[in-house]
């Protein structure tokens, strides 16, 4: 049922070709880093913008499709997964990237995250996690750390944060990786691995919000996080690999994936990958493929009396 398209672009894909008008994020926002990582990945792999769609929700992260020269759907709050799934079912020929924030994906859109992960349809899902609501001006989100004051919990956030990585591992995600906005090489390598994986590739991205929570991530030091590395994994960021701990972790091992996900230390890299999880989109397209084709001219014959 897909619309026939030309798959090849005649022009080489360059960073410049992917530019649109200037992004309206704050100076120093981690979203610039993520956007650059996404563009670099597209250039590295010559991903054709004509057949690429960025789909997003609402929030600072939601603006991303407006700032990269591909097709784009800047949808409504919490629901980009639903739009992306419709697109994936209708157009299996497209490359689909979903941009969502911690509020968008884990709070208002939590239900869709469960079912996106479970349906395991083919897309790269980028969770921009700045640990608070930013575009609405500093409210507590599901990942805000306990004690951090916000406009809605000014005496300090009451609860411990949700753990998004543990959450999606628990839901049975087929691909779970984590990276950060300030390590562009690692970010691009992560997107590359996520894109190669067929299924719902969940990419958690620690993202700085210098305006509302400059202390959330100490991006100048690297002792508070470690890289997970493995031949089947994602290579550690070259620039800081020697300054931090490198942990051997086989991404097919779900048990140790949970161990690192639940640790107080933060880990970047590939937590888990299962290439064999069934895909909803693939199943439905398979059913379509093998169905006996019937002419529409006779659809009412079954009601003849």
């Amino acid at each position: 049922m897909s619309v026939p398209v030309e798959q090849k672009s005649t022009e080489p894909i360059t960073l410049k070709a992917l530019n649109t008008d200037n992004p309206r994020w704050c100076v120093g926002c981690g979203d610039f880093g993520i956007l650059m990582g996404l563009k670099r990945f597209m250039v590295d792999h010559q991903i054709v913008p004509d057949v690429t769609v960025n789909v997003s929700g609402i929030g600072c992260s939601g603006r991303t499709p407006n700032y990269i020269n591909t097709y784009g759907v800047h949808a409504i709050h919490g629901r980009p997964i639903t739009v992306a799934l419709g697109l994936a079912l209708a157009r299996p020929d497209l490359n689909i990237f979903v941009e969502s924030g911690d509020g968008d994906a884990l709070s208002i859109g939590g239900n869709h995250l469960i079912h996106g992960v479970n349906k395991n349809f083919n897309c790269v899902f980028l969770l921009f996690d700045n640990e608070l609501y930013a575009l609405t001006k500093s409210q507590t989100s599901p990942t805000t750390r306990k004690g951090h004051p916000t406009n809605t919990q000014p005496s300090g956030t009451y609860l411990d944060p949700l753990n998004p990585i543990s959450l999606v591992l628990g839901m049975g995600a087929s691909f779970v990786a984590s990276t950060a906005d300030w390590i562009p090489d690692h970010l691009a390598s992560t997107l590359s691995a996520a894109f190669k994986h067929k299924g719902f590739s969940f990419v958690h991205i620690s993202q700085r919000c210098p305006h509302y929570d400059p202390d959330a991530f100490d991006h100048k030091t690297s002792t508070w996080f470690s890289f997970l590395k493995h031949e089947k994994g994602i290579p550690p960021d070259k620039r800081i690999a020697d300054k931090t701990e490198l942990i051997d972790h086989d991404p097919s091992n779900l048990e140790t994936a949970f161990k690192y996900a639940n640790d107080s230390q933060r880990y970047f890299g590939l937590f888990y990958q299962n290439p064999n999880k069934p895909r909803y989109d693939e199943i439905l397209h398979g059913e379509l493929e093998k169905a006996e084709k019937k002419p529409r001219a006779k659809i009412l014959d079954r009601f003849l009396i």
Binding site: D50, I81, L85, R91, A297
Partner: protein
């Protein structure tokens, strides 16, 4: 035995849920159809699956109207009721839909253990002047029913009704064979047929009256179809390729039907995790250039509203079917109402720009999806198809319709536009954004957002850009307004009273106006298939009548206007009054409309 010849008759079979009343009704109307009669059947379904037997909520049954001419609605009053026990009968009598000569066949099988209850209901029948014919299922049949673990009772009643309506036993048995032949083993099937025969023989020998409705030999191919099946086939015929829904009564059966067959026509059925996800997927598909549809009822419509407004702003085509049910909130899931009109029309926040197509009958259900597809792809505004429980679930015999096998919306045929009283839209309708390319078009790179956008698709909060975007979106609706022709009118275009309705009320309005005029009562009727926007000339038409009144299945009283009256008043400044604005969950009745017309013009 006396045979009454009737042009038209209405009867009911009332049983406990789960005992096959609808199945018996289904077999009987197919047999009627084979004998050349016209039927209209309305199932009565509890919102629960199987409430405890012998309780009032357990009432489940069918109302069947049979005639020797084409009928458009379920009619007025009932001539005959067959009830399996006194409680379901008592419950149904509350609806006050029996006529003065109504006869009741009451199964007395449960009387021994419920003497007092039976006596009370029989007293009620006497008070109403209804003649009661008590009977009991014979011993042999009772033993057979017991051997079938309690099922088969419906076959006995089917036998009785078949005899009373002078049906050929062979024709009905052939339908039973057809219905159960593949599903039941031979022994069980034969037991069912034996029970049917016993009921038939019993009624022939013991019920002293019968009805004869003449049948006409069929000259054209006929189909028997319900609204939701017709809508499902219409979705296929319209070339829609993705159906995205979430289970909700009474919309669900469209999803069930398509789940079985859609793939053979290149379509995917996606059962989403909730109503919002269902509409989101439809929007995603249409952004990809692939026609999609989502389908819901009452509460689901409320949940979808944010995305409906989004589709209008982002200029992504969107078709939403709303099979209305009784509200507010969960209301009565298996009862009919037309009260979602304001939610459809004004439900999203901010300015609303949308087109509302309604269906009057099963034929409209078949052509509405392509009409909606035409409108939404030409205009890139959300288009509603408003059905209701009554239309969705009622079966009717019609001439076999002609599929149009639409691929591209510009192929829409004139007779379809004509059916919805509309001319073709102009070719180049202005959009807020110049670029409307679908993914895959080289260099197209369309990006959409719910934020205000300028002509180039850039996010923009400037005063003039916002004003222009509103103007452009509303101009699309005005294009429809201008393309709309005079709506369907029954009777002359001037006079004392004009009765107006929309959606499923068409049949009753037509019948009420025809019967009124036959009795010398001057009245006219009007029916809207496209209920928003309204055509330009309705004020002129209204001005030629002393009174303009609405009939609608939505609550109204002396201080509250029901939706259609409110809409017509605001659009025309004519003093449109609601004549019937009921929220009983039951369909409108032609006779009640006639009575009200008489009252109003005397």
């Amino acid at each position: 035995m006396s045979v009454e010849n009737k042009k038209i008759s209405r009867f009911e079979l009332l049983m406990d849920a789960g005992f096959g009343a609808q199945k018996a009704g289904d077999i009987l109307i197919r047999a009627f159809a084979r004998m050349g009669k016209y039927v209209y059947i309305e199932p009565m379904i509890p919102a629960e699956i199987s409430p405890p037997p012998r309780t009032r909520p357990a009432l489940s049954g069918v109302i069947i109207r049979v005639a020797d001419f084409d009928i458009t609605n379920i009619g007025n009053d009932t001539d005959l009721i067959l009830a399996s026990h006194e409680i379901v009968l008592d419950r149904r009598l509350d609806d006050e839909e029996t006529n003065v000569s109504c006869r009741v066949l009451l199964d007395m099988g449960d009387k021994k253990s419920n003497e007092e209850s039976y006596e009370n209901v029989c007293k009620r029948l006497t008070k109403l002047g209804i003649s009661t014919f008590p009977f009991e299922i014979d011993e042999e049949s009772r033993a057979l029913i017991q051997s079938l673990s309690g099922s088969g009772q419906n076959m006995y009643y089917l036998g009785m009704l078949s005899a009373i309506y002078n049906m050929s036993q062979e024709v009905v048995e052939a339908q039973i064979q057809k219905e159960f032949g593949k599903k039941l083993n031979e022994e069980v099937l034969n037991k069912n047929i034996k029970i049917f025969r016993n009921g038939y023989v019993y009624a022939r020998a013991n019920v002293f009256f019968s009805f004869e409705v003449a049948g006409m030999p069929r000259k054209t191919e006929k189909i028997l179809i319900d609204g939701n099946s017709s809508m499902s086939m219409g979705i296929i015929d319209a070339g829609i390729k993705l159906f995205s829904g979430y289970p909700i009564t009474p919309a669900s059966s469209i999803m069930h039907t398509l789940a079985k067959i859609f793939r053979s026509y290149g379509g995917i059925v996606h059962q989403a995790e909730d109503e919002i996800a269902a509409i989101g997927a439809a929007i995603g598909s249409y952004f990809g250039g692939v026609p999609a549809i989502t389908c819901t009822s009452g509460p689901g419509l409320s949940l979808k509203q944010e995305f409906i407004g989004y589709a209008a702003a982002a200029e992504i085509p969107l078709i939403v079917i709303d099979a209305q049910r009784s509200g507010p909130s969960t209301g009565m899931p298996t009862k009919t109402e037309q009260s979602d009109l304001p939610a459809a029309l004004f439900g999203n926040h901010g300015d609303n720009t949308k087109v509302i197509v309604s269906v009057a009958n099963v034929i409209d259900c078949f052509y509405a999806p392509q009409m909606a597809r035409y409108l939404t792809e030409k205009l890139r505004v959300p288009v509603f198809i408003m059905s209701d429980f009554q239309t969705a679930n009622s079966y009717k015999i019609i001439d076999k319709l002609k599929p149009t096998e639409m691929n591209n919306v510009n192929e829409i045929q004139d007779f379809v536009l004509e059916r919805f009283h509309m001319n073709r839209l102009p070719d180049n309708i202005e959009m807020v954004r110049d670029n409307q390319a679908s993914p895959g078009v080289p260099g197209g790179m369309r990006r959409v957002t719910g934020l205000n956008s300028d002509r180039a698709g850039q996010i923009n909060y400037f005063s003039k850009t916002s004003q222009r975007a509103h103007e452009v979106r509303n101009a699309k609706i005005h294009e429809v307004r201008k393309a709309l022709k005079k709506p369907e009118i029954f009777g002359p275009e001037e006079g004392k009273i004009m009765v107006v309705g929309w959606g499923s009320s068409r049949g009753v309005i037509e019948e009420a106006i025809n019967n009124s005029r036959a009795q010398g009562i001057p009245a006219s009727g009007m029916h809207f298939r496209i209920v928003y926007p309204l055509p330009m000339m309705i004020k002129d038409i209204f001005s030629k009548f002393k009174k303009v009144v609405t009939v609608e299945l939505s609550y109204g009283d002396e201080h509250k206007l029901p939706p259609l009256a409110m809409l017509l008043r605001s659009e025309t400044l004519v003093d449109v009054q609601p004549m019937i604005a009921q929220a009983t969950g039951r369909p409108l009745r032609p006779r009640v409309i006639m009575q009200k017309i008489k009252e109003l013009i005397s």
